[in-house]
Symmetry: C2
Subunit: 180 residues, 2 copies
């Protein structure tokens, strides 16, 4: 499966028609957010392309007080293409973490910087958790939303728990060091 922006757009549009702008918001705030990224620079060209291939339909919607928008909807052909795209064993998850890189090389970091990094990570994780909780409350058109939410919640919660332990340990060490 080539999980590129094309496939992503098709996937988002299975939940209902949307404009490029709304798709971006969906990716940032919705269920997709914690395992995918995409910018306008890739979404808009992808939509134009998909519509040209008949996988999407376009409709211009005039709005008062706001710019017009192009509302895209997935076609039968588009659904078929999506199904074909995901009918393959998924590629291995890709996880990139500057945070863990820093933690591994903590001898090159001051205790303050390390603490700041841990706090930031904790903040990010809690933000993700809140987002998932929010998604699951709102109407979810996807059958798999429960699956993804449970998976995400479990993983993020585990991360928060270890981090809190590590942070406490760190604080004990640094205060002990400061008392010397």
């Amino acid at each position: 499966m080539s999980m590129n922006v094309r496939t992503l757009c098709l996937g988002v549009l299975t939940a209902g028609e949307a404009s490029g702008y709304e798709i971006k918001k969906d990716i940032e705030e919705g269920m997709f957010s914690h395992f995918i990224d995409a910018s306008f620079g890739s979404i808009y060209p992808a939509l134009t392309q998909l519509a040209g291939e008949g996988l999407l339909t376009v409709r211009a919607e005039e709005q008062t007080g706001k710019p017009d928008k192009k509302v895209y909807a997935i076609t039968a052909k588009g659904r078929a293409a999506l199904a074909a795209s995901i009918a393959v064993l998924p590629a291995r998850d890709k996880y990139k973490s500057e945070f863990l890189f820093q933690m591994l090389l903590q001898e090159y970091l001051t205790p303050q910087m390390m603490l700041a990094a841990v706090d930031k990570q904790l903040n990010d994780l809690n933000g993700d958790l809140a987002r998932i909780a929010g998604c699951i409350c709102s109407e979810q058109p996807h059958k798999g939303a429960r699956f993804v939410a449970d998976y995400g919640e479990a993983v993020l919660t585990a991360a928060v728990n270890v981090l809190n332990e590590k942070k406490a340990e760190l604080l004990r060490l640094t205060t002990a060091q400061a008392a010397e």
Copy 2:
């Protein structure tokens, strides 16, 4: 912090001198493996560049029965550059998962494909866990190895647990459906 291949190479080399080939192996099999990726096509040019800037030293090592190798070691200047690189709040973790994408869109997947995907994921996760366990047993030059290993283990274990639950649920449903 720009966690590019340059910084990554510097980081790996703090554990001791190594050739490009060995760095790649380290990234694949060592502590770095579960939160970073890099290919030869990016490692070799990066090493040449870093050596040119005086952040690394090179030494050609002749080997019998094997091709010669270029052994790189980090310099004081290199350590300083590394420290400078990581002396910034880390960027948000990036996580891409075709697996979760498929699970979210499970209505476009057959139960068999879904089960296959779950099994593959479970396999990948268990592989990662085994790798972490292996790393921690072998001599670890990094202070932060414990931190990273604990974090990784917690997260991966949580993922395995949810997945096993989900899989059991899935099997119940599919066998019930088959019995109809």
